[in-house]
Symmetry: C2
Subunit: 350 residues, 2 copies
Amino acid sequence: MANVVVLGAGMMGTALCVPLLDRGHRVHLVGTHLDGEIIRAMEETGVHPGLGCALPPGARCFPVEQLDRAMEGVEVVALGVSSAGVRWAGRALAPFARPGLPVLLVSKGLHWDGSCLRLLPDVLLEELPETLRAAIHPVAIAGPCIAGELARRVESCVVFSGREAAVLGQLAALVRTGYYHVRTSPDLPGNEVCAALKNAYAMAVGFGTGLHQRRGGAAGASVAMHNYGAAVFAQALGEMERLVRLAGGAAGAAAGLAGAGDLMVTCQGGRTGRFGRWLGLGLTLDEAIGQMAGATLECLEIIRVVGGALPALQAAGLLATDELPLLRHLYAVALGGTAVNVPFDRFFGG
Amino acid sequence: MANVVVLGAGMMGTALCVPLLDRGHRVHLVGTHLDGEIIRAMEETGVHPGLGCALPPGARCFPVEQLDRAMEGVEVVALGVSSAGVRWAGRALAPFARPGLPVLLVSKGLHWDGSCLRLLPDVLLEELPETLRAAIHPVAIAGPCIAGELARRVESCVVFSGREAAVLGQLAALVRTGYYHVRTSPDLPGNEVCAALKNAYAMAVGFGTGLHQRRGGAAGASVAMHNYGAAVFAQALGEMERLVRLAGGAAGAAAGLAGAGDLMVTCQGGRTGRFGRWLGLGLTLDEAIGQMAGATLECLEIIRVVGGALPALQAAGLLATDELPLLRHLYAVALGGTAVNVPFDRFFGG
């Protein structure tokens, strides 16, 4: 049994409490400054408003103002913040950090520092005291895991990645259950690049559904534009693999849980696919955003980051101009207002 | 313009006529002895009963008895038969074969000869006169392509694979259109193994949909058992890649059009996924087959072939007993009547 603090009471952070509680750990769930309403609702009703279900008995909820209290006796920290919240989480964690503290990260994304795409675990470390940066080895979670399903104990396979095998094994052993199947991998760059990019590419897979409906096709038809979506899916894996190589990840990462697995699940159940559908239906970017009722669109953020990095990567000779044609199109759609028109003839090295 | 004979008037063979006709070729569509009704219907109404749509003007339909007439002046042959029909097609083709005749194959499957998994293009060659076997270089089509969508000119990306670059390039150039995007690849074993196995694995992805409904979940819900299906999907790609290696294919084939792309499309629109859903719902194998109204279930055939080959492959030291846990489970379900219980803990080398 360990004392675990989960910082961030969004859907994924909260869902992660379920296997932790089922394993008998003492869990403190701390909302960020954006989670005030969620923490209040959970204290009053026990139910997480986004997940629509309650946690198993034993979790204690804290607002961010009570982080100090929640952190008393902490042995393991899990960060359930969005990619934009990683620096904040690092600063919040800093006063409590100590050498060897196991830190688990559910955030998915990449940062661009002007010359290099940075992984979120490394961005997190930058916010910790300099003396601790070599003594803490964050572990990142990737793989197909819709939070609402994990919270309901649906069989899920994920991959924990980190640079320090001992911490990796310890965290996996701590949270693994009969329904939460945790593999471990030393390939932090490969898995993190896939985890981040899948949102961008799931949007593109969704285009086909929208185009089909725009042409008068019925939703859920077996003859629709599945060929279109599947071609985009395969091209997405090829482009992810190229970006994995650029980041120094292992060959084959894109075909694994963090790549193909997470892309698949995001196309099935996620808001990103729905957002892509609106664009395929012919809505402008602003109209499509308007349809999403304020949902966080990580897809636009990752397209902005990676698409914006392309000119510098090309100038540095790291990437040719004819590579990543799908990502370039997504950048033009999401940042330049271009209409959806997937460049199939440039796919697969064409 | 070329004189093209398409032998086999099933959905895929007939759909392939659409880009051929759009490119201005003279197309003769010849039914097999199983396609009598289809040919009669097409001659009377113009509409293919399975596809539910008509071919563009210019195609001529022939019953199998008129194969001789259809073959007059033939320059290119496309075989649109099922995997079980490949030997028959080879024998039917033999009297008309000549050195250098371009042959295109839409059939997907593998044969087991007792010591080796054989590719269908090689099985086809066995039925041709011995003097021709080194002088004909069949080209196989793989990739995500639902016939009903190709027949309606939905954007589709496929890969043509063959051992002879000149024939490959010639056939791709002959049929490529603005909506039928043809890539070429020398990796015949890699792409053919993926094309064959995707039916087996799509059945497994469908289990999750059935299990979800069995537990009272609504069809199409965004919180369902998508995590389950996506984990199966990623494991499937890993197992395909292992089988590709066994067959001497190129690394990464499973992540491409023939693997991930075709698996994705089969999970979306195909009968194989529906069949898997019935099994996930708890029906016995015979009950599930009964629900499919006589549809050809290529998934059962490929599971029988490859699953049945495993003991010999292990005995030959080509495969370890803990490899391919998902395929082994599918074999137990499809041949041994075992209930669906996917071994997630043995996935990803666990």
